[in-house]
């Protein structure tokens, strides 16, 4: 049975299921330790939740190909959207497992709806209240992921290396002058109108839908949301903040809206240069959490896994 992904603010039960699932995965330990990841210091167990954070960090550091330093195994290239779709799908299956409910879908945060508000209203949105996922702070002091409940155990340092820690979540909502507000509904409509999916040089410099939604050209959308939230959403360990999944679920929802409108197409094809390995249509995507090879082609129609309650409007 396909799960239904709903707006996190649609119903308290949607938010509650997500919070319960996250906290369960944060307290589950399947055996891996920090030593397995080469993280210096005292050896500690790594939770199931934190395995996803480490996977994201590893993907960020895997250059594709290693001879350049722009496109990596999950970002700044065509695979950005299918890779994160795979990551979220596996995370959603973990939440379903620990909740024993195969109908639970990841919630999304419709940040463009908040982007229509003035900046003060954006920071005061329902998402950031106790009844949402808590607000801003170093550490976050309210909501279900406040410091007394939710601990960050692995973080990136300034050199983009992992280290252990034991602290609450950090958020600096709307405080960065480079992103004083969220993306607007108009920017979402503009993004949905972009075509084709991606173009050469398949990087941060590309024209097309993927790079517009990722937020490199121009700066905006997904990247803008990371910077607007700030704190733990800044480094490669950004999945440390549970809002990471709400952001990416919305990014995935926008992609799904684009696929519905423009056709379930993807480039680069498999006939493109091997320099694009891990980004082509039938290349296995980078993962440490699933043994079976999974390709971008397999991520183009995921209706057997989940659907959205509402796709973004194109007008």
């Amino acid at each position: 049975m396909a799960a239904l992904r709903r707006n996190v603010l649609a119903d308290p039960a949607v938010r509650d299921a997500y919070v319960t699932g996250v906290l369960s995965l944060k307290s589950e330990f399947l055996g891996p330790t920090t030593s397995d990841f080469g993280i210096p210091g005292t050896v500690e167990q790594v939770s199931t939740y934190d395995l996803f954070t480490v996977w994201h960090h590893l993907a960020m550091g895997r250059m594709t190909p290693p001879t350049q330093n722009d496109r990596n195994a999950a970002h700044s290239g065509p695979v950005f959207l299918p890779w994160h779709r795979l990551m979220l799908l596996l995370f959603e299956l973990q939440i379903q497992r620990v909740l024993s409910d195969a109908t639970v879908g990841l919630p999304y945060w419709d940040w463009a709806a908040d982007g229509a508000l003035p900046p003060s209203g954006q920071v005061g949105s329902a998402l950031w209240q106790n009844s949402g996922i808590g607000g801003t702070g170093r550490p976050v002091a309210n909501g279900p992921f406040r410091a007394s409940v939710f601990r960050v155990r692995i973080e990136s340092n300034a050199f983009a290396a992992l280290r252990t820690t034991d602290r609450g979540l950090n958020r600096d909502l709307g405080a960065d002058p480079d992103a004083p507000s969220l993306p607007t509904p108009a920017s979402e409509v503009d993004t949905l109108g972009q075509s084709p999916y991606d173009t050469a040089p398949w990087s941060r410099a590309s024209l097309g839908f993927r790079n517009r939604l990722e937020g490199w050209l121009p700066f905006g959308m997904h990247n803008q949301v990371h910077v607007w939230i700030g704190g733990d959403m800044g480094p490669a360990t950004s999945p440390n903040d549970p809002v990471f999944y709400l952001n990416h679920c919305n990014v995935d929802r926008i992609w799904e809206g684009w696929l519905v409108n423009q056709g379930r197409t993807y480039v680069p094809s498999q006939s493109e240069s091997a320099q694009l390995a891990m980004h082509r249509l039938n290349d296995p995507m980078y993962s440490i959490l699933i043994s079976q090879p999974t390709t971008p082609a397999e991520m183009l129609d995921v209706s057997q896994f989940y659907t959205y309650d509402l796709l973004p409007s194109t007008a």
């Binding site: 990841f37 395995l51 590893l58 960020m60 300034a158 050199f159 410099a205 800044g234 043994s291």
Partner: protein
Amino acid sequence: MDYSDFVGAAQPEEIRKALAANAEQMASAGRAHGSGDFSSMRYASYKGHQIMVRTTYEITVDGRPFAIHVIVDNSGRVHYHGLPTRDFPSLIGLVQKAIDMFPEDFPEPVSEPDPDDASHHHGHGHEHPHDSGK
């Protein structure tokens, strides 16, 4: 893969198997991204000419090396893996943001502060115990 394959792959035993199969690359997670050659290469074609620009930065903060791999794009903007969802028009701005984001990695300077650095006196609204230079 179909639905049942993915559900099966999400089971703890399957995750352990996947991790075991990737043990070698997992062990690199504790190392800094982009270590090795810290040069950034840019390429462009112009009127049939092939342009290559190699850029290498030497960065110090309070006299200590800040050895990061800076990536420069063809418009001159700079980027690094420590802050992966943004780039900067200036490397000074990048380093300033890194200091803001990773204060643990940049201990308070012990030398006399620059009197022209307004942020040192007004930027954070708290006392700096070393500012007296004692």
